[in-house]
Symmetry: D2
Subunit: 430 residues, 4 copies
């Protein structure tokens, strides 16, 4: 089977503590998490697709279920009867090997199946996955369920960022949740720690779940570097704006400057100036921009220009990983339910490596040495996107805690702004 | 008041039989009609906006209500309290004089207000219109209510054509209604009647409701002409297609040929060839193309090319009106509930002037001599669209019976195909 | 032969004074005129194509020659040998019946043939036309040569408007000719003459050359109207601009307002504000806008908005023709060599019907009753453009005197601004 | 001075043999080379700009001269009088710090200055550079002249690729030069050499001219790899095409597949199938595709898909440099005057590292550790393009011999095809 190289469990899942019972429990937890995220939304809310980057919440609920049906139940559960034959194409996102897909923009027309039908689809697949996990002990099935959970977690984050964009697009500006003010509006000052670098190893080794793009683990040489102790804040970004950051081409990459002119960018996405005050749209509605909060919803171009303005640069993905490999995976993640970055709190530096905001790196998204995409449909998961995108690291306030790790590589085109994407400065240490 | 010239009741509405009681009854009937059309649709269905030409059904329900609130209740009902202040901009379509409007494409993001809220908005406005009609005897109010009813009838037709497009866009191809087969699948053969023309009068005179673009009534000189006894059928159109109609530039206007190449047109909208059979999407789902049915969902360019291929031309709007002025307003209209054109049935020629399909004319949509748009917002109703569009006449299977008349001028850009638009041939009589 | 209905000489050309000798002389004169217009231009200048509407001067010189070769020499001169086989496709503009055409945008890549080669092509065709006119007495050949001359005259005007645009696009802003100041910078005040209208005849009758789109002559009924005694001036247009004409949507057609927003129009094409003074680019370079000069380089939308602002409307093409039928064809035309409109001078009203600026009419460009396009390639001359365009009347400062007449119908899409297009006001007479 | 880090001469130019006399000689040689390349072109040919990527030959001649005037003569030659003030903006390409630039597409409208004027500009600058080099001994001036020569060499290559595209766009398909057939139509078979990799140094050290993007020299760790002994041939690429390479999405990056669909790619740029034979447009006109020749005019996406089809991958820029550091800089380069890749000839492997075709690498174009763009205008030379582009190595048949070296980094967006860009396969050595 081709999926091996995608999952790359090297040792027995059982031994690694991924017992079937635990996996079944995590499956249920994951599915409930998705539904909890959708709970504040009406059936109508779950129809909205407000940009070509986003998808409707109902589609996220259906597509994640389709993944379990298509890649696990259909090939592995004897006698499994497809819930609805027509869903095979309808909820395919981009897997050419599975068959046709509707154009992405059409997802907003999927009033049928109704949300009720999609919920039935979810329950049916949940029941059958339970049956499968009760009967099939093969590591392949366990690995695939693990992959399906991780896949659904990615869509949980997208569900949040997509509904945020949807509600922002609606002139009524409804809120996704009640206002949750940050409790501690101050942030430690920005500092730079020096790291020695050297010939290090990066990437995932085989003992736990990871995506194929995190492997193979391999050596890289890293020059000495300085690394910011926390992400850049709104206050620091306002200083860049006040210093005419959006008007000075010398601060920008050529493509970035074109984007500034083409889109009329004058501030991060969701920011609006009312009278003399900057507000931004959050999952709790319009709110004052708080200076100590990490800045987010900036593109790679803005992150890069800010860094140049600051006399620094962005971190590389390997510098980031070298630092993060020493840190605990904890922070302002999905489970906190804030869906908004919070000011850094005192503690051991560096702060906020995980959660709050994805950190744009200066690294293009490329395969690691020795990477080969899997054969078949699941080989389309990551490898085919390895051009024209930049790596982000660390997860955000909408990333599930069990989903993120030091070796995790997220990636988006450099113009992307609707994710919770922020800025970690670095520099060469001379 | 500026609205006079829009409405152009010249005599007292009372005397013309438009008593307040009758008007109130027609108001209620109209509002119920809209809701009956929306009844087969889920709240999710009513969110879909599948093209830049169309709007969601929920939006149609809200916007027609907004019209009554904005132009009647707010200025004329003492003490009227706006249902929701935010709707004033939200459900404005294109009236610059009323204020800002959201970009049309954003209508698909209006998950809030919910359908329930829109229904409450409808009921509230209905109650207040009843109060107003019970207390205000001014002809201005009566005229405005009349205008509001006619406005809502236009949106009833759009609601049908828009949901047809929405369901066609969904790969599942749901049906709006149960299949209603045509009962009599034969059509009389096409003939041409000769008319003498001469110096005639066209346009609406003041004694009954009409839109401003139908007036003033005025003289035009019409040459002798020949006029087809019924619209062109699918069978006739198939002959055009079989004769390589879509491949011969000499049959097309230059802009039409560009449209053929740009869009890859090979058949009317909604047509698909399965094996060797032509099917088309209807309000009752996918169905075989029946040769005796009037062809519809063709652009002006296709109608014009078909006419050239047939050695004829399209009728002008004045030839059409001259003929239709003698006919009864009856036919396959909205109230029949077919939402699909039916084969012509024997009877006095010409057939199917009203209902079935709108008939593209060879006339550009321009003001009549002496036309002046009203001042203020309602002056934006028709006049500002008088460029780049062609006139259609006669109503379709989705036009309310009380909405259509011989002087009625519909208009669309020549590329338009999602309306029930068909072909009436004519020619010069030499 | 199919060309008959294009040319519609009804009587013998000889009897009408179009003797062969005279025609041969006019042919030579026309060809020399083209070359005189190109004389100030380098070979490099003649390469420039600065917009999708325009063509390079060299192309105009070649295409007009191609017309004579393709439609006259090849079919009618026995033993004629094509100058260069490859030119048949290369210099075809839009005649699908003749064969393939290069995309219009490619004309800027035709560095080969060189200008020298094109001049040889011209001389060769000139010699052969002389041979043909010396030997072939058929009225068909005479009619075709007449058509070819008229065709080349159209391209003379385009050569001027296209090189004006080309030089304006070059940041160096070279001048096409030496500065020719207007001698008399004052204009009579604007007045409106009343005309009774009635059942009149318009269109060309058969006794002299005209294009197919001017025929058949036919009856139309015209309401009483008022007609401005001269075109609107720059001074009047500045008053519209100063009254925020470009900022008030209520003055504009819906499509016009979209064009204002999409293109950021704030003034006519070629106008620029330097400090507090308006300048515009002319064939003599940048020059102060003179208030008494007729305003030009406005789109139909701007002409229409200006008229609405002025409490008037544009003239219809039939009103215009009714008035112009009484006037002499004289004015500031190509032969004056000014290539710029001049202030109206006293005289019998109405003034400046011919020359100075084309006058946008309120009439869509549609076929006259009984119009049939010719079969074959020459049938593509006019008829296939009869959608989406508005009629202009009267010729401009770049129209040859022998080319224009009261029945002449020019036509352009409503956004067009690079022609010398101006404004003649009219109104209903109540 | 800011230019230091651009040029990064670390030692005295004099000692390195870059005596002023030698530099002056190389300056003259370089300028003559440009003019020799332009010699076969008419003034009209030198006007053509056939795509948004390309520029007219006249512009290349002027812009390279502008570079010497703007960055060397104006600041460094006392009393230098600008040849024409207006050229400062006119011939600026993208240096925001120098001032405004015309939109790139406008370059095709620069009929003025004429080619003659541009030649005078060239001669004037040549004379003044000679004066400067005779009087100013500063290393800064020498370094800037060196930079100007290298800049002009880049435009020499572009002049060739741009005129190739221009002539291909002209339906007459003129040839840039007489047909030069390859003399030896056979190529050695493709093999893979194994390299051990390890912790190596890459990048330019300071002792000779290099661009800022080649420095600093730094350590990288390279895994063991296999490296193809020659570039892929047309014959090998035809095998990919015959195996439906352009129809199988699983072979392509996601963005690559979109490009295939959007542009309808079925073969490399310039290839056309006539009957059953593949021809391609070359600088010598249309010619049969010869199987032993290196394939070129492929995008990064095509190179990547071909490699995947072949079970391999593209080389990284560091693997390439590691191998090339051992090789002589010689091959089919500009001075050969073929302007077309030639079949590999026997000799020591690997073959054709330099010349013939640029080799797309799997490396994104990013700054080296420690890279800082220079301050001021020359800092815009390379650094601001470091996003969205891929590195190419080795030079092509249109690269001057003295311009290329093992550390040289060329870069283009992955869709680019009009350069002589080809494919070098590599793979991991496991």
């Amino acid at each position: 089977m081709a999926f091996k190289s995608v999952l790359t469990f090297r040792s027995s899942p059982e031994k690694e503590g991924h017992s079937r019972a635990e996996l079944a429990a995590r499956y249920i937890e994951c599915r409930k998490q998705t539904e909890a995220l959708a709970a504040p939304l009406t059936a109508e809310d779950q129809m909205v697709q407000s940009s070509s980057e986003a998808s409707p919440a109902k589609w996220h609920q259906a597509h994640t279920t389709w993944f379990f049906e298509t890649f696990i139940l259909s090939p592995h559960l004897p006698g499994y009867r497809t819930f609805d034959q027509r869903f095979r194409d309808l909820f395919n996102s981009y897997y050419n090997a599975v068959g046709q897909q509707p154009e992405k923009a059409l997802r907003s027309t999927f009033s049928r199946p109704t949300l009720d039908d999609v919920c039935k689809f979810r329950r049916n697949v949940d029941e059958q996955i339970a049956v499968l996990l009760g009967s099939d002990h093969s590591s392949e099935v366990l690995e695939l369920v693990e992959l399906g959970i991780n896949h659904e977690q990615q869509h949980q984050e997208l569900l949040v960022t997509d509904i945020k964009h949807a509600f922002w697009s609606n002139p009524l500006r409804p809120a996704y949740q009640q206002n949750r003010s940050a409790t501690d509006l101050a942030a430690p000052s920005q500092k730079a720690e020096t790291h020695a670098g050297g010939l290090i190893e990066v990437g995932a080794n085989g003992s736990a779940f990871h995506f194929d793009n995190e492997a193979p683990r391999h050596k890289v040489f890293v020059q000495p570097f300085r690394f910011a102790t926390r992400p850049a804040t709104c206050g620091e970004y306002l200083a860049f704006m006040d210093d005419r950051g959006y008007e000075r081409p010398e601060l920008w990459l050529s493509d970035g400057w074109k984007a500034v002119l083409a889109h009329g960018w004058k501030a991060p996405l969701y920011w609006e100036k009312h009278d003399k005050e900057w507000l931004h749209f959050t999952c709790s509605g319009m709110r004052k921009v708080e200076e100590p909060e990490p800045v987010c919803h900036v593109s790679y171009y803005e992150a890069d220009a800010f860094a140049r303005w600051a006399g620094a640069r962005l971190t590389t993905e390997f510098e980031w990983e070298l630092v993060a490999a020493q840190a605990q995976v904890e922070g302002n993640l999905l489970e906190q339910g804030r869906f908004h970055p919070a000011p850094a709190q005192g503690g051991d530096d560096p702060l906020q490596l995980f959660g709050d905001v994805w950190e744009w790196t200066a690294s293009a998204y490329l395969p690691y040495p020795g990477f080969k995409a899997a054969a078949g449909a699941l080989g389309e998961y990551n490898g085919k996107f390895m051009s024209g995108q930049m790596v982000l690291r660390g997860g955000s306030c909408s990333t599930p805690r069990s989903h993120i790790r030091a070796t995790y590589r997220n990636f988006f085109p450099p113009e992307t702004r609707w994710q919770f994407s922020g800025i970690r400065l670095a520099d060469d240490s001379l």
